[in-house]
Amino acid sequence: MKPGLFASGAFVLVAFMGWQTSRISPITNPTTRISGLDVHDESASGSLLGQFRTNLTAWLWLHADLYLHNGVSLRPITPAEAKSGVTVQGPANDGHENLDSVASVTVIPSKDRDFRGLFGDAEREIAAYKDMHGHNHNDPEQCLPLYRLMTWLDPQFIEGWTTGAMVFARDRSPGGTKRALSFLTEGLGENPESLDIMTEMAYIHLTRKKDYTTAIPWLEKSRALGFSHRQNLSEGDRTALENAYRWLCLCYRDKGEPAMVRQVATEGLTIFPDDNALTRLMEKAGEHSGRNPAEADGPRSRA
């Protein structure tokens, strides 16, 4: 065989494989991520091709986090550090939702926990470093194109949709809320069975618009879907489902429907038996506080 013919044939095959990537998208990124099913068990080629897209999205995700912190790198605090008294460098309470999902410290250590002497001093001057106790975030608007880009690259990347929506929703004007909801609707179009997006949708309706009528159906849908898949939920969906149960209980409590609170809490406790919030809400199910759930102690860690 002539080399030219061989090379052309190989290129045609590569191009064909490239065109077919959209067909394996449902395999690499199922609409409902089931933790018991890993794509590499089903399709090795699907796993390989999906990897690049996922890596790029993860890279953008990390960079979005960096820009929010003006270049200062943070990492989760280790149990040993927490035990030895190292304090979490959390954000300031500025009235917005917390965009930092984990308790973090700076990657470059502060002077008091750095053994490197002059090297450490120089690095703190050279790299983007500052004390991040009670830190503020850069204008998240700057990161919005990145959330757009990452969800465009990987529409099944749920955190991109939900965190992007939170960034939109930091603008508490009707326009900001509208943009957040529109972003989530777009995400839901790509991931029609994502519990996280549904719960987020309800959260924004409740906290920004105090709109129980729209929020409750979203939470109920999340609850029904989550309950039917309760054995196979991913970590993210489990958290979303737990939040959906809590918000639903609060909504029904404030609507003066204690029977519904009991019903939802009882069902929730079968999946999350250690949830103190649900236990408390069930105990107080007969009482109607009249508080707005949006103003109550939110179930979300970021609220």
Binding site: L66, E125, P145
Partner: protein, 258 residues
């Protein structure tokens, strides 16, 4: 006298690099930068300025390091294999002078490539109306110093192992030293006293190449320029490390049968 020797040797490395069309690699990398910029332009730049600057400094750092490693790790093994080293050593120059001259040549080739890439990147950034601050100049100067240290490392390793192995090890240090150092700082407080001594020693020996990278400050907004004492410290540290690497290379080269 020595300066003339070093200049002639360094010039030889630069000419050899041009003859081998190494700088074509730079041109291709530059073309990639422009292509990437074009693709990003297609998506629109609104709000992406920091991202683009970050991408630019990452690409510059990465490509600069690739050129430094490939140039430094191939020079002497190629000269030995092609037996072009004999005519050089038949002249009245010592083996140490040869090492210094070659290293200077590798550094110049790397700097030329880096500056070419920087110019192309600057054009790409300016086309997006992204402005530069003083810290960007500091970034360039410190990065060039860091690339010189990478050349020193590559040259030293190339005398102890094959060029491919030397390039691999140098790449590991160039891209991984920051991770290694941060791992040491994380583990230090929990380590035993003996472990802490080992960690301190490792930290002292490891090339702290991340110190030469001001990229995170240059890409993000409102960071003040680095104090002058830090730049002087980097200059001193870089020079010291290069001299140390030259020493390591000389130990092997001065009695090496050719």
């Amino acid at each position: 006298m020595k300066l003339r020797v070093y200049r002639a040797l360094a010039r030889g490395v630069v000419l050899e690099s041009i003859r081998r069309k190494d700088l074509w690699v730079v041109a291709i990398l530059g073309f990639l930068i422009m292509m990437t910029a074009g693709v990003l332009g297609f998506f629109g730049m609104q709000g992406l300025q920091v991202f683009i600057k970050d991408l630019a400094v990452s690409v510059l750092g990465g490509f600069g390091t690739i050129v430094a490693v490939l140039t430094a790790c191939r020079m002497l093994p190629d000269e030995i294999r092609q037996r072009t080293l004999y005519p050089l050593l038949s002249r009245p120059i010592s083996r140490f002078d040869l090492l210094v001259g070659k290293l200077l040549g590798a550094i110049f080739v790397t700097w030329i490539a880096f500056l070419m890439l920087s110019a192309l990147t600057a054009v790409a950034l300016l086309s997006f109306h992204i402005h530069f601050e003083l810290i960007m100049l500091q970034y360039l100067v410190c990065k060039m110093l860091g690339l010189a240290v990478v050349c020193g490392l590559g040259l030293a390793f190339s005398l102890y192992m094959t060029p491919a192995a030397a390039a691999t090890i140098t790449f590991i240090f160039a891209f991984g030293s920051s991770m290694m150092v941060h791992a040491l700082t994380m583990g230090y407080s929990g380590a035993s006293p003996v472990g802490q001594v080992v960690m301190k020693s490792l930290n002292a020996i490891l090339p702290q190449l991340s110190l030469f990278d001001l990229g995170s400050r240059a890409a993000n907004i409102n960071w003040a320029p680095v104090p002058i004492w830090v730049v002087l410290f980097l200059f001193g540290y870089g020079l010291l490390y290069i001299v140390a690497m030259l020493g390591v290379a000389w130990v092997k080269f001065w009695r090496q049968p050719l």
